[in-house]
Symmetry: C2
Subunit: 255 residues, 2 copies
């Protein structure tokens, strides 16, 4: 197993995973009871841009057989958030005590995965340079509902230099299972974002004069929606504190 | 509504839909009781190449809100197959009498959709020229299981002239939600197909001397697997007798 996951498992790394283990595919984690799993999977299927499901474990299993058969989803995320009836009740660095045999775990593609591709083509990621978490915002764009699950899209924002915006769109469009191309370029107010300097999740990131804010659908969407559904129990990664899989970015095309 | 669907609804068209309403996206239909819907959706999610789900109706609804809000899934397929406990019991041209409030309908992408693109780029489809159904075969390739649902991949075969095989692969790769690129080229025996002249579904299609048989994952897979699972009730389209949606091939990229 690679050293970054071991550090996370031991509790030695509890920070965001932006820039950690570059080239490995990172994933959002949402764990719900089996009785809510169908509606949640259907919600994801109906909103593939924000909720690109890459793996669903069998009921009660904490092993992602496809993306990381040697991992343990109870320990291998740097920080977990626990929600009961929609209320955030705990933040933990493992969930061994909370684990139940009726839990189903969803791994959902994460835009941190394509940041490596952007950087390798000369498009810098300021939040990584500054060792920050990416900026994330709730929007006014409704998702398609499924059963109990309804709510608005959450987006991540990266400031991109004007002359590289087209490249950033082209490059990320190659990662459809990691949110793909942006959903909007340049107009936060039309997404219902009142103050770009005050993200709802993550850290504020400076936008320089020759840069445009570019917005991608974000994997926090499903956990935001699941939280609003007030289901009895839900466990997620803390925003930005992702599950790092065994697969490489370069394999994503095969998926 | 376009005339082809009206003809199907009235029972005036009960033949395969290959080549019918060209440019419209065609879909496989699988209807299962709600109690089997989660496992079936999970099976599809785990086998995206053969089971690219494009829409799931709400429980009890026969309206595909996204792909054809004016359609009625009880009448708008030329021919239905009804299975009880895995046994094929009936063939019907509508399922109004069989409809139940716990039914969930799955629309699954279909390779008939990309045939239009192939033909428009000068790659002929012999089964369409001959007014036949496409040839389909069971293979020895296991799908990833989910709950009750286990089984092998079913493929469709089209003979392609040697010098156009690369083009056919390139073109169909642009339709990932319609089975995308082929799974194999040229070696039916390695897929466990004993006699290429005797397909398990559809019609036998001649392979000429300068042609290679090319195999695509087929949307009959999920219904074959659902049949093997012996669930209490399942209704599908008859192979090749697809549901024609309101959406155009050219829109598929947007999905």
């Amino acid at each position: 197993m690679f050293k970054e996951r071991l550090a996370i498992r031991r509790g030695a790394w509890t920070k965001p995973t932006c820039g950690l283990a570059p080239s490995y595919i990172q994933a959002n984690l949402v764990i719900v009871p089996y009785m809510n799993a169908y509606d949640f999977l259907l919600f994801c299927m109906r909103n593939p841009k924000s909720c690109p499901v890459i793996e669903v474990t069998d009921q009660g299993s904490y092993t992602p057989e496809v993306f990381a058969p040697d991992a343990d989803l109870r320990t291998d995320v740097p920080k977990y958030h626990i929600y009961r009836y929609g209320e955030w009740t705990d933040e933990k660095i493992d969930i061994k005590e909370e684990w139940r045999n009726d839990f189903v775990s969803f791994l959902i593609g994460c835009s941190l995965t394509f940041e490596n591709a952007l950087m390798s083509q000369g498009i810098p990621m300021r939040h990584i340079e500054n060792e920050q978490n990416v900026s994330m915002y709730q929007t006014n764009i409704p998702c398609k509902g499924a059963g109990k699950f309804h709510g608005n899209l959450v987006v991540s924002m990266r400031p991109i230099r004007v002359d590289r915006v087209a490249d950033a769109i082209r490059i990320t469009a190659n990662y459809p299972s990691m949110h793909g191309s942006p959903i909007q370029v340049g107009y936060p107010e039309r997404l219902g974002i009142k103050n770009i300097k005050s993200p709802d999740y993550g850290d504020p990131v400076e936008i320089k004069e020759d840069e445009i804010p570019v917005f991608w659908a974000c994997g926090v969407t499903p956990q935001f929606v699941a939280q609003q559904s007030k289901i009895e129990m839900m466990i997620t990664h803390a925003p930005g504190h992702m599950f790092i899989t065994n697969r490489l970015d370069s394999e994503i095309e095969d998926y």
